[in-house]
């Protein structure tokens, strides 16, 4: 510890070089944290475990194929089913098709059951009853209210594309939930304008009574409709989310590969800096050894410097990430990928990985120069000029 001030002084001996190296560690570390967060968010459970009691039933072929609304009572009678919610993707547009105006728009045939199935959501403005009682009522996520500056009772016009209909809906309730980037309205609003869609829904949500039921029901339910005209595929909420992620291709492999390359680049930069620093101090290190410094102390001085250099960059990178994270999350929430923001948070494991990468880079980058410095004979070192 007595040598730590010397390590610090050596670290900033060439200020510009050290600051540039710290910068070249800081920024990639920041990027690693962001990519890691996105990767981790793919696996996250924004419902805080409540999703384990939810199943989704869709058409066996694709979620774009409808299911009969009449499946509702049949599903409801299965043991372990607490609640059933019929849902539909409306799509369409709000104002225009620009990225800023993209958000999820769903219709449900069972507004009164919505908060029973998504019980992590709570109404924070207006009331559930007002929304349930008003066929043109709209339930809006709090984040969207803030983004568009909407007020309770305000009319919102949604123009359909899958459904060629324009809906004028009134905001009756605002909900708070991990994912606040969607709007929900009554399916009847579509059915009234387009009677041909009556009797069909996009998919079913099921709230189960237990994990045993979550595990048992999918096979039971799919078997029930296996030979019908509308066979089903029942999945847990997690499996359903993973299905969407897999549509993006092997994103995890891609992101992990990018992160690995970034770590390797940081390593090369830090190693180059440490190699230069050690080369410049050959005589000085020989002098220290003449004074009685042992090889392990020289090893510690050079490795310590490398580690500190990396830690400076790493800690600043992580701090920058933590500082900018709320803004980044909000930017994602306000983008067409808004739903993705629900799973994003400051994951402790990402911070731990960033710290581990920093330590790894520091130690590996400094190892070769440290060993070389410690091993070089004193007389060889003293012979070097400079």
């Amino acid at each position: 510890m007595k040598l730590l001030p010397l390590v610090f002084k050596n670290l900033f001996r060439k200020k510009t070089r050290s600051l540039l190296t710290i910068g070249s560690i800081l920024l990639p570390l920041f990027v690693i944290c962001i990519l890691g967060t996105m990767l981790r968010a793919l696996d996250s459970d924004p419902s805080n475990g409540k999703g384990m009691y939810r199943l989704i039933v869709r058409h066996k072929v694709s979620i774009t194929n409808w299911l009969p609304a009449a499946y509702d009572p049949k599903i409801r009678q299965l043991p372990g089913v607490v609640e059933v919610l019929r849902m539909n993707w409306f799509g369409g547009s709000y104002v225009d098709q620009s990225a800023r105006n993209q958000f999820a728009r769903f219709s449900t045939s069972d507004a009164d059951r919505f908060l029973k199935v998504f019980d992590e959501a709570t109404v924070v403005e207006g009331s559930e009853k007002e929304w349930v009682d008003d066929r043109s009522g709209l339930l809006v996520g709090r984040l969207l209210m803030k983004k568009y500056g909407w007020k309770l009772g305000q009319k919102v016009t949604l123009k359909g594309d899958i459904y060629p209909v324009t809906l004028e809906l009134t905001i009756r309730a605002v909900f708070e939930a991990p994912d606040e980037t969607g709007v929900y309205f009554h399916h009847e609003a579509i059915e009234e304008a387009l009677p041909r869609v009556k009797g069909f829904v996009g998919w079913y949500w099921i709230k189960t009574a237990s994990l045993e039921a979550t595990e048992r029901i999918p096979a039971q339910l799919d078997a029930m409709f296996e030979n019908s005209s509308f066979p089903t595929k029942t999945e847990t909420e997690k499996e359903f989310q993973n299905g969407w992620v897999s549509m993006l291709g092997n994103v995890k492999l891609l992101v992990t590969s990018i992160c690995t390359i970034i770590v390797f680049v940081i390593l090369l930069i830090a190693a180059n800096t440490m190699a230069m620093a050690a080369r410049e101090r050959v005589t000085e290190i020989a002098v220290l050894r003449t004074l009685g410094f042992r090889k392990r102390q020289i090893l510690g001085l050079v490795l310590g410097e490398s580690l500190l250099l990396s830690l400076f960059g790493g800690v600043l990178g992580v701090a920058l990430y933590a500082l900018l994270f709320p803004g980044f999350r909000e930017a994602v929430a306000n983008s067409p990928m808004g739903g993705f923001a629900a799973g994003m948070k400051l994951f402790p494991e990402i911070l731990a990985v960033a710290f581990a990468v920093t330590v790894f880079v520091g130690l590996v980058a400094g190892l070769a120069p440290a060993v070389r410095s410690a091993q070089r004979s004193i007389t060889d070192g003293l012979r070097q000029v400079g």
Partner: protein
């Protein structure tokens, strides 16, 4: 004759370059008394610095033995040798070799960081050492803020900070102007006289060598001449012997 501090017996030092074996010291034997001030002279490549490095324990002989005090430095392990150096040897270099990012105080404190001394004791010792070399008012100066002579005095303070018995100096005035060189020689004499340090100094400068009590002249790795001041006093005198040795 005083008690010998350094005993060098039949020391051979060889370097191998590619397949060629180069003999730098060839069966050299020498004794240096405790409290002596010895100047090592000789032409380039004669083995002066190699001998100094061997005595200071920063290099090892190919064969032969070197005792300094009770320690046989030629057979010590590297770790033991490092510890021994930190306690018994002070090294003064031609180019001072101060750490540029450390102040004069911090440079002098460096060897003390290897001891178990408390911070207060270290401070006391550093202040004493800088006081001896007359740089108490330059403690917070960085090497770049000091003249060459002052830098060398800081280097001497660093060498005496641990109160070693032996001071080895490799051309301590070689990079200095005449006045600064003179100051350094006076200081070395003082360390030898007042503080009883044994000084072994490599030099090309006859004036510097004339300050020593004893002149050892090496040539091609063997001892050519060994002149004591008191012996020389009756004949040609050490200064004259030095001039002869330097080939003037």
């Amino acid at each position: 004759m005083g008690k010998p501090l350094i005993r060098i017996e039949n020391v051979v030092k060889q370097y191998t370059r590619d397949t060629q074996v180069l003999t730098v010291l060839d069966g050299l034997s020498l004794e240096v008394e405790e409290g002596d001030f010895v100047a090592l002279m000789g032409p380039s490549g004669s083995g002066k610095t190699t001998l100094l490095n061997l005595v200071a324990g920063i290099d090892r002989p190919t064969s032969g033995t070197i005792h300094v005090g009770d320690a046989e430095v030629s057979s010590m392990s590297e770790g033991a040798l490092a510890r021994w150096r930190s306690q018994h040897v002070g090294f003064i270099f031609q180019l001072y070799n101060l750490v540029p990012v450390l102040t004069a105080f911090e440079n002098v404190e460096l060897p003390l960081l290897l001891t178990r001394l408390s911070k207060a004791d270290r401070r006391r010792q550093v202040e004493t050492a800088l006081g001896v070399v007359g740089l108490s008012d330059r403690m917070d100066h960085y090497p770049r803020q000091l003249s060459g002579g002052q830098e060398q005095r800081v280097a001497i303070a660093r060498a005496i900070a641990t109160d070693p018995t032996l001071l080895v100096a490799d051309e301590p005035t070689g990079d200095l102007d005449a006045r600064s060189g003179e100051e350094i020689l006076v200081l070395l004499e003082r360390l030898n006289h007042e503080f009883g340090k044994t000084v072994v100094m490599v030099t090309h400068d006859p004036k510097a060598a004339a300050r020593a009590h004893r002149l050892v002249h090496l040539d091609k790795g063997v001892l050519k001449e060994d002149v004591r001041a008191k012996e020389a006093a009756g004949s040609i005198g050490l200064a004259a012997a030095v001039e002869v040795s330097a080939g003037k």
